[in-house]
Amino acid sequence: MADIANYVALSALVFFIGVAGVVLRRNPLIVLMSIELMLNAANLALVAFSRAWVNNAGHIFVFLVITVAAAEAAIGLAIVVAAFRKARFVDVDEVASLRG
């Protein structure tokens, strides 16, 4: 395998791309997809370290993360569906009732 540092740096880079997506995009679906991106970046780092230590606890944890990501995507989409069922705009800025 390549040097572990490469994998960690790659993971960090993809993670920050995901962060950019969360902060800068206004379509809620794109935001959720960016979150998935971030979770996967973390998974990459976990698998890389698991391989470096030859310890499968990292794999188990990735399994957990994937599960959580799935659940979270499902619920996030359910919320999007519920919130924008009758909305005019599909825009994250519209749900601002926490203002003030």
Binding site: M1, A2, A5, N6, V8, A9, L10, A12, L13, V14, F16, I17, G18, V19, A20, V23, L24, R25, R26, N27, L32, M33, S34, E36, L37, N40, L44, V47, A48, F49, R51, A52, W53, V54, N55, N56, A57, H59, I60, F63, L64, I66, T67, V68, A69, A70, A71, A74, I75, L77, A78, I79, V80, V81, F84, R88, F89, V90, D91, D93
Partner: protein, 205 residues
């Protein structure tokens, strides 16, 4: 090494593509490419089981979920009609913050020893070997043994999480409960004509 860099480029490019597309469908496709590249990384890292799981669950199930929601989200308007931008000047601070964060993170990665110089021998749970054999690191067998013996708790927790997700989705996105009769929804502050004032309001100081 070339493979590593090539895959890395694919990963990054698809990630950027995902984040920057206007149409969510294009983003889904980009995400799919990203997941496949990721699965390839897992295969290269001896994590065959996880690579397969990645493709099955992530690209197979979750992305399908996304596609369905995109398709069924709104009737009449497209799923990507956005309103006015209420935070127009967020780009610069966001980029600055991420630059700072990524910069320091890279600095940390480069200057921190990520692994000890000599790997202790007892940490390994199995041995590296050809793909397929049940006792090889990263195989199904290896994963299964760990999942059902030493790492049983994550397994149980996973089950619970999935149940929560199912219930949650049904509750959130399901049909709203039927409306009760109108008498319980008086407008606040206005007395209905002819209605007796609730005695409980009078008693309160």
């Amino acid at each position: 090494m070339i493979a590593f860099y090539a895959l890395a480029i694919v990963l990054i490019a698809s990630a950027i593509f995902t984040v920057t597309q206007k149409s969510p469908v294009y983003s889904v496709v980009g995400l799919l490419v990203n997941f496949i590249a990721l699965a390839t990384f897992y295969f290269r890292l001896n994590a065959e089981f996880l690579g397969v799981i990645q493709i099955l669950v992530y690209s197979g199930a979750i992305l399908m979920l996304f596609v369905f929601v995109i398709a069924l989200l709104t009737s009449g308007i497209g799923p990507f009609t956005e309103g006015p931008n209420k935070l127009p000047r967020i780009a610069l601070p966001a980029f600055l913050t991420m630059l700072v964060g990524f910069g320091f993170l890279a600095f940390g990665i480069l200057h921190t020893p990520l692994l000890p110089a000599a790997m202790p021998a007892h940490v390994a749970t199995s041995t590296l070997g050809d793909a397929g054999a049940a006792t090889v690191f990263g195989s199904v067998g290896d994963f299964g043994v760990a999942l059902f013996t030493t790492q049983l708790l994550p397994f149980e927790v996973t089950a619970f999480i999935l149940m929560v997700a199912v219930v949650g989705v049904v509750v959130i996105a399901g049909d709203a409960p039927p409306q009760k009769t109108k008498g319980h929804h008086e407008p606040v502050g206005r007395r209905r004509r002819g209605a007796r004032r609730e005695p409980i309001l009078k008693a309160r100081k």
